[in-house]
């Protein structure tokens, strides 16, 4: 038996019936990590003993005839900005090197309750600030298919781990595209849920009004399965929604006949890689073939979305990261006064990109500038949200467009050009500004084999609808396979 490459659904069912031994699945997965991670650097930490113990508990649970759990026996990777009790949680930052949280994130608890087996913590851009995983304090993640390329970011470790079979599923977090972008570049599925659908309790905050945790999987069905485990009300997060959670797999096979989809015009023009455009148009065509109506749709304020996003995200980041001062936990620079301790710890503990965003964020909030920057961005945010409300009010069920303007880029290609790097997120940030769910699904590959994703964006809490559309794309376009070609 080689469970590498199996779907989560298959592992879950096999484990529940006793046909699959979860310990064997985990052993094989850990072996895979051992052999492949040194090259890819997707994992910052693997907890072999913990994973094996968890697998034994699943065995026991099956023996006792306990509830199956949505993730029974499934090896899961967790992005390292989500707290795991007693095991390292660095958020990709030297500031938190060696930090072990005393409590677990809500999503970590949920994964464990549902029988999932956490195999390790994945690499990311420091505090989620980046689109290429080159801003990790612990070295970049490499694309499984081409080690000279980036898998995208900031959930690049999670995306690479899933794409490469080092985990069956992974959590990511998405503030401006950090789940969808690496999913698109690694040829897998990544869903950013509606803001408030998944609890942020235990998620190391980047920009609180936009951060959202979501699943990365090789297939839409598995992403839906994982959403069943992650979604739901958590009283420890005041922004968490109390809406009931449906079974996100229920409507996946219903097809798209009769759905009205808007092709986001503004994202199909200038600056879009021809291969990506071909993939997106191909996906749109496939949906039309299956009975959906695809119409052009304009969101006029999209042009300002990236600017508004960065101003807002940096402002919130400057505030959220103020707590890293060397006083209570994390990196502490030696110093002889309280002020020097704070300045030294922050000066040395944070990486360049984080410092850039913290400084810019403090600036846009400062007296005399907040009106021109922070508050103006807040107004643009409202306009972007209204664009979407208007589009959905005209009877559109979902919107489609590219996830990323291009396919995986080379390491170092943009790392020194922050403005160009920020534009990686140009198509993804709108969903975060508006709090809407969006999923990236593989839409095809070019001659060089590098994948491109199509983004499907829905109304509030319409995760089921966009996953259903994603499922139709996946069926038509072939979906994800393991990137290394071994299976």
């Amino acid at each position: 038996m080689d469970p590498i490459g199996w779907t989560a659904e298959r592992i879950r069912e096999g484990t529940a019936t006793g046909d699959i031994d979860p310990v064997e699945v985990v052993e094989r997965t850990l072996e895979r990590i051992r052999s492949r991670n040194p090259r890819i650097n997707a994992f910052l930490y693997t907890d072999e003993a913990g994973a094996l113990r968890a697998a034994e508990r699943v065995q026991e649970r099956v023996r006792r005839g306990g509830p199956p759990g949505w993730l029974l026996g499934v090896p899961v990777a967790v992005k390292d900005n989500q707290c795991t009790a007693g095991t390292p949680t660095t958020a990709g930052s030297a500031m938190l090197d060696g930090y072990r949280p005393p409590y677990a994130a809500h999503v970590v608890e949920r994964i464990q309750e549902e029988g999932g087996i956490i195999v390790g913590k994945t690499n990311l851009d420091e505090f989620g600030m980046g689109s290429s995983c080159e801003h990790s304090a612990f070295g970049p993640v490499r694309h499984p298919q081409d080690p000279e390329r980036t898998p995208g970011g900031s959930s690049g470790g999670s995306a690479a781990a899933v794409a490469d079979g080092m985990a069956c599923l992974a959590t990511g977090s998405d503030t401006g595209g950090s789940i969808r972008l690496p999913a698109s570049l690694c040829g897998i599925v990544g869903l950013k849920p509606t803001y408030g659908r998944v609890s942020r309790h235990g998620l190391v905050a980047y920009a609180s009004s936009m951060d959202q945790i979501g699943p990365l999987a090789r297939g839409v069905r598995d992403a839906a399965l994982m959403m069943n485990a992650l979604a739901g009300r958590d009283p420890r997060d005041a922004t968490s929604s109390s809406r009931p959670v449906p079974d996100y797999r229920a409507d996946l096979e219903r097809g798209v006949r009769g759905l009205r989809l808007g092709l986001m015009e503004e994202s199909m023009g200038e600056g879009l890689d021809a291969e990506v455009e071909r993939a997106v148009r191909g996906a749109a065509e496939a949906l039309r073939d299956q009975g959906a109506e695809v119409v052009p749709c304009s969101l006029p304020h999209t042009a300002y979305a990236a600017t508004a996003y960065y101003v807002t995200a940096m402002a919130e980041a400057s505030s959220n990261l103020a707590r890293y001062d060397g006083v209570r936990y994390g990196f502490r620079a030696p110093a002889s006064s309280a002020a020097a301790l704070v300045a030294g710890s922050r000066g040395r503990g944070f990486g360049l990109e984080v410092k850039r965003r913290v400084l810019l964020g403090a600036f846009v909030l400062s007296a005399g500038y907040a009106d021109a920057y922070y508050r103006k961005a807040a107004r643009i945010r409202t306009l972007v949200r209204r664009d979407f409300e208007r589009a959905f009010a005209t009877g559109l069920d979902a919107l489609i467009g590219p996830t990323c303007p291009h396919r995986a880029i080379r390491l170092g290609e943009r790392v020194d050009d922050p403005v160009r790097m920020y534009l990686e997120d140009v198509h993804t940030v709108s969903a975060n500004l508006a709090g809407l769910p969006a999923v990236s699904v593989p839409a095809g590959k070019a001659g060089d084999g590098l994948p491109a994703g199509v983004q499907i964006l829905g109304g509030p809490f319409e995760e089921g609808t966009i996953l259903r559309i994603g499922r139709a794309v996946e069926k038509a376009r072939g979906g994800a396979r393991l990137l290394d070609g071994e299976t």
């Binding site: 949680t89 309790h201 609180s208 009004s209 005041a238 505030s319 707590r323 209570r328 309280a338 704070v342």
Partner: protein, 492 residues
């Protein structure tokens, strides 16, 4: 030529809300626990921790807003206020900036000599407290105690409506009574659960424009508020008279030296970079909820004092003392319901009960003798069942044992003498010893004679004689004695 200056004073007050748990987490909101024992990931600002607002804190905050007649919006929200300080775990404080809980309120302060001073309340809002730095321990290092971090505070800001330090002090005292009456806060300045930070500027008398103000912190008593303001007014006057300019700054009061000193060594313009707290959605202040809180609002001290004067015919001073503490006012009213002689009840509470409280070091809310028992005691005194000294002894005994007045009285042998034969003997003896009283009865002055001899009987029985029974026996005995005499005179 010297200028006369007018003081312009405003006050900013922080009161710690008397909730069970903290403002944004489930940790206990308590004073005096061992350092670091009341703290969780939220208090420590650990990565990934999130604030969840305490509903009870809103209720208490709304009580304050309603009692101060503030305008209350339909929704309110929190903001982040940023500054780096080791006792502030997140390096920002969750507070309310441009959508506070209440605005534009007012309060009337009754000044002993000047009468009623109307004070405008600028705003009332909720926020979290910081931790506490502990210096000079463990080889010169400093520690941070997070027990207080995240404790719920209500901040109340007045307009600059005070013209003297004593007015500001009287306001703080009145506000303390109000907060305690509303059961919103212990409002104890020495414990730090009530902190008053006044600001002061001077201007030439009669001028409209405001001068440059300074703010004073570290005031641990009402007296300190008054002293610090006096001292600061002198300091500013000195500067102005020398032709100088007052610097806008925050000063710390040094109670030992009786002077203020600048809090920061150099002038730092703080930019707090406020923005809406994204972790907490705006809180809707549902009208039904607000009305429910209004309905449950306790009567405010000043209103109650006026009602006491009106309804019970007490004078202002007496009513003032009774309403200073809610527990006392409540007890007084309950007692009057059972024994409707307000003047007697008031006197008894202010004299006997107060004496006992002072003796034992109790607070009124801990006083163990219920008002109904006080009423019983007063009735016994009225009926002559107890003399004042006995009543006092009974009260002390009831207070320390927690037993009812009648039981105490019995134990002490102070219960009524009702036994007819024993009473008759006492009465007969008294009548025999007072022939002049019998003479009075004969001359139609029975009431006078009865009144006089009842006093004698009570004295002789140590106040124990059942007044009703004794009186009827006495009347009968007197009439008989008087009749016998008349018989001798040959009346038909």
């Amino acid at each position: 030529m010297s200028t006369t200056y007018e003081m312009v004073i405003g006050v900013e007050v922080h009161a710690r809300l008397a909730t069970r748990s903290k403002m944004f987490c489930g940790c206990a909101n308590r004073f005096g626990a061992a350092p670091g024992t009341l703290a969780c990931p939220v208090c420590a600002g650990l990565p990934g921790s999130l604030p969840v607002p305490n509903r009870r804190a809103f209720e208490l905050g709304l009580r304050v807003c309603l009692a101060l007649s503030c305008r209350i919006g339909r929704s309110t929200r929190f903001d982040r206020k940023h500054y780096f300080y080791p006792d502030l775990p997140k390096n920002y404080q969750i507070t309310q900036y441009d959508e506070p809980l209440g605005v534009d309120g007012r309060m009337e302060v009754d000044l002993p000599k000047e009468g009623i001073l109307p004070v405008r309340i600028r705003r009332v809002h909720l926020e979290e407290d910081a931790g506490k730095n502990l210096h000079g321990r463990e080889g010169g290092s400093s520690l941070v105690d997070l027990n207080r971090a995240g404790a719920p505070l209500v901040e109340i800001v007045t307009e600059p409506d005070f013209r003297s330090p004593s007015q500001a002090k009287a306001f703080l005292q009145a506000l303390q009574r109000l907060l305690r009456t509303l059961e919103v806060s212990n409002a104890n300045m020495e414990e730090g659960s009530l902190r008053g930070e006044p600001n002061l500027s001077l201007r030439p008398a009669g001028a409209d424009a405001l001068g440059v103000k300074t703010e004073i912190k570290n005031l641990n008593s009402f007296g300190a508020v008054e002293r610090a303001l006096r001292r600061e007014a002198e300091r500013q006057r000195g500067i102005l008279e020398a032709g100088g300019r007052v610097r806008p700054e925050t000063l710390l009061w040094d109670e030992g030296r009786g002077e203020t000193r600048p809090m920061r060594s150099k002038e730092e313009a703080h930019d707090y970079r406020y923005f809406p707290e994204p972790d907490i959605p705006p809180v809707r202040l549902d009208a039904g909820w607000v009305e429910e809180i209004r309905g449950g609002l306790a009567e405010l001290p000043l209103a109650r004092r006026r009602r006491f004067e009106r309804a019970y015919g007490l004078d202002a001073a007496e009513a003032g003392i009774l309403t200073e503490e809610r527990a006392l006012a409540d007890a007084f009213e309950a007692c009057v319901r059972a024994y409707p002689r307000p003047a007697d009840v008031s006197r008894f509470y202010q004299k006997e009960v107060r004496r006992l409280l002072n003796e034992k070091g109790w607070r009124m809310q801990d006083f163990p003798v219920p008002p109904e028992q006080i009423a019983r005691l007063l009735r016994l005194v009225e009926e002559g069942g107890l003399n004042p000294a006995q009543a006092r002894a009974c009260l002390a005994e009831a207070a320390s044992t927690g037993r009812p007045v009648d039981a105490v009285r019995k134990e002490k042998g102070l219960e009524q003498l009702r036994d007819a034969s024993r009473l008759s003997r006492v009465v007969a003896g008294v009548v025999a010893e007072h022939p002049r009283a019998v003479e009075h009865v004969r001359r139609g002055k029975e009431a006078k004679a009865v009144g006089h001899l009842m006093g004698v009987i009570m004295r002789e029985t140590g106040g124990r004689a059942d007044p009703k029974a004794a009186r009827s026996l006495l009347v009968r005995a007197l009439r008989e004695a008087a009749g016998e005499g008349r018989g001798n005179a040959g009346v038909p």
